[in-house]
């Protein structure tokens, strides 16, 4: 499993209210919701994002509300992976549960700049910065979490377990 794309970079404490403002949480359609992704801190994001692109944040990415709409709209926008120094724990769970790839890597978060092209190998956790010709090593997922992702998310993994 791999990803490759251009980087959209943000700072520390990117909260779920800016990822998807609560005023849109009455919208059920994922595509329509995704048109508001990041709009309170970056009105350009939805105009320029392309499938496969990578989002990079600092500490405590995804803090705040438990709304699953946050990882959902990031995924729906076409982002293939979010890299951050740390993730807020509910966001971390939610991303795994819905199958949005996320990696904790302080070095990558420091060194990657907006617009860089990066390639990610999820099996090894190696992040390659194609633009800068650098590589960074992310913490790989624990085995338990890999199983959820491989099953296609939490619900599918439960179905698999119950069926087995």
């Amino acid at each position: 499993m791999n990803a490759k794309g251009f980087v959209h970079k943000y700072g520390d404490n990117v909260d779920t209210d800016v990822i998807i403002p609560a005023r849109y949480l009455n919208i059920a359609d994922k595509k329509e919701l995704a048109t508001h992704c990041m709009e309170d801190i970056d009105t350009e994001f939805v105009k320029v994002v392309k499938g496969g692109d990578v989002m990079v944040g600092g500490f405590n990415f995804g803090c705040g509300s438990s709304r699953e709409h946050a990882p959902m709209v990031i995924k729906e926008s076409g982002i293939s992976c979010v890299i951050a120094k740390t993730f807020a724990r509910i966001f971390y769970r939610n991303a795994i549960n819905i199958g949005l790839a996320i990696l904790e890597c302080p070095e990558a978060s420091e060194k990657i700049e907006a617009g860089d092209e990066v390639a990610i190998d999820f099996d090894t956790g190696v992040i390659t910065n194609v633009t800068k010709n650098e590589t960074y090593q992310a913490n790989p997922f624990p085995e338990f979490i890999k199983e959820i992702i491989q099953a296609g998310g939490l619900m599918a993994s439960i179905k698999e377990r119950q069926g087995g």
Binding site: D15, A28, S66, R67, I90, M155
Partner: protein, 419 residues
């Protein structure tokens, strides 16, 4: 090595004699909660996977509190979806307009959560029930769906930070000031992935409403949960509300903590958190002149009876500044009724406040107090992120009900001790 309170509860619910920090466990759930924003996503997942039953209809709560009474057609459709699901599976604890309150005030009040239980909720402030000595934590909608289907979830056993409280709060200082002060000390990710375990002789001077407020905002320091020991105050609160056996877990004397933070309650001042993070905490004496446009008194953080009582005490015989809109929202129907019986409602209305049926509305910029760009609000809510309560250049100052009421009168952020 001994276990923390949290670790003991998790071990018991995983059927294990002991657990260690970092261990992945599968735990049985005593309650699974959702609201009108998170439940529809959970229901969609639940139905997409073809589940045909819930694990226990008495252990699921759905509370229609966020965009209710329905703020628009889309919100009404979301509530309808929840209502249909609740009827289909005969969910015991479905709370609709007329019975509902703000979920984290409602569940403890109704005795639906208690000491020793393991609770997940698709709302980040589910950590509130740690005030009763429960393990409770916020999750997303997919976790809620899985919880409703199986009655279980997975956890990584957290490490813990010990918050040692000594002394006693001064007049006009409350649990809200303590938690804002703590978040100011350790930061919005100071307790990331960890438990905050509140201990020390200072705990006994804190009322249940103070503890609920402190546990509620533990998430704003990144914590997985916040938890208090069970004492006479907890038992008195649960008596008459909880009709099933409950268990008080105490941390082992040799329980391991990653750090200890000490707070002398005597020294905590009324505290205000500036935009746009709860960690921007300032003692009121350092605040300076900040004119405001709106005050919100309510929410899962500060919509309880003691919050209403202190606001009424301050507002009695006084008037809200003509340039300020002050909105008071008791968090449950019972609290609303108590406010009427105690005369608080008359006080609020005479002072020029708007009073409202319970709702989360303005806290997350839904309705009932959304702000224009450039406006400033003193709110007893829990988050002051960019755009949280309206326009992206609006500003939220988090504070206690006492500070909020004093500020409503003064037209600027004010010290309730100096009125």
């Amino acid at each position: 090595m001994g276990m923390t309170m949290t670790q003991k509860i998790l071990a018991a619910h995983a059927g294990l004699p002991e657990v260690k920090a970092g261990q992945l466990i599968r735990a049985k759930l005593d309650m699974v909660l959702g609201n009108d924003i998170t439940s529809p996503v959970a229901i969609r997942e639940f139905e997409a996977q073809g589940f045909t039953g819930v694990f226990d209809k008495s252990k699921i709560s759905m509370v229609m509190d966020h965009f209710t009474p329905n703020k628009d057609i889309k919100a009404a459709e979301q509530c309808l979806q929840c209502r249909t699901f609740a009827h289909r599976f005969d969910i015991d604890n479905f709370y609709d307009v007329g019975q509902m309150g703000v979920e984290h005030a409602l569940l403890p009040e109704k005795g639906l959560v208690c000491a020793g239980e393991c609770i997940i909720g698709a709302d980040s402030h589910t950590c509130t029930y740690g005030a009763l000595g429960a393990f409770s934590t916020g999750v997303g909608s997919t976790d809620m769906a899985a919880g409703m289907a199986t009655g279980e979830t997975w956890f990584k056993v957290p490490e813990a930070i010990q918050v040692k409280l000594t002394g006693k709060l001064q007049p006009m200082v409350s649990g809200k000031d303590v938690i804002l002060h703590l978040i100011g000390l350790i930061g919005v990710d100071g307790a990331l992935y960890q438990s905050l375990e509140y201990t020390g002789e200072g705990v006994k001077s804190l009322s249940m409403d103070d503890r609920l407020c402190i546990a509620n905002m533990s998430i704003e320091a990144g914590a997985k949960n916040g938890i208090f020991p069970v004492d006479e105050i907890t038992e008195a609160y649960m008596k008459g509300r909880v009709d099933r056996p409950w268990t008080a877990y105490a941390a082992d004397p040799d329980a391991e903590y990653t750090r200890t933070v000490e707070i002398d309650l005597n020294t905590v001042e009324p505290t205000v958190s500036f935009p746009h993070l709860p960690e921007n905490a300032h003692p009121i004496s350092d605040v300076g002149d900040i004119a405001i446009d709106q005050v919100i008194i309510g929410s899962c953080t500060n919509g309880r009876l003691e919050d209403m009582a202190i606001a009424a005490e301050i507002l009695k015989g006084r008037k809200v500044d003509p340039n300020v809109r002050c909105i008071v929202m008791p968090a449950t129907q019972q609290i609303f009724k108590d406010c009427i019986e105690k005369g608080y409602m008359t006080t609020f209305i005479d002072a020029g406040c708007a009073v409202s049926t319970p709702t989360c509305g303005p806290c997350l910029g839904g309705h009932m107090g959304v702000m224009a760009n450039g406006e400033k609000c003193v709110a007893t809510t829990n988050r002051n992120f960019v755009g949280r309560m309206g326009g992206i250049t609006s500003e939220i100052y988090l504070a206690s009900p006492a500070v909020a009421a004093a500020s409503a009168i003064a037209g600027k952020i004010a010290d309730p001790r100096k009125l």
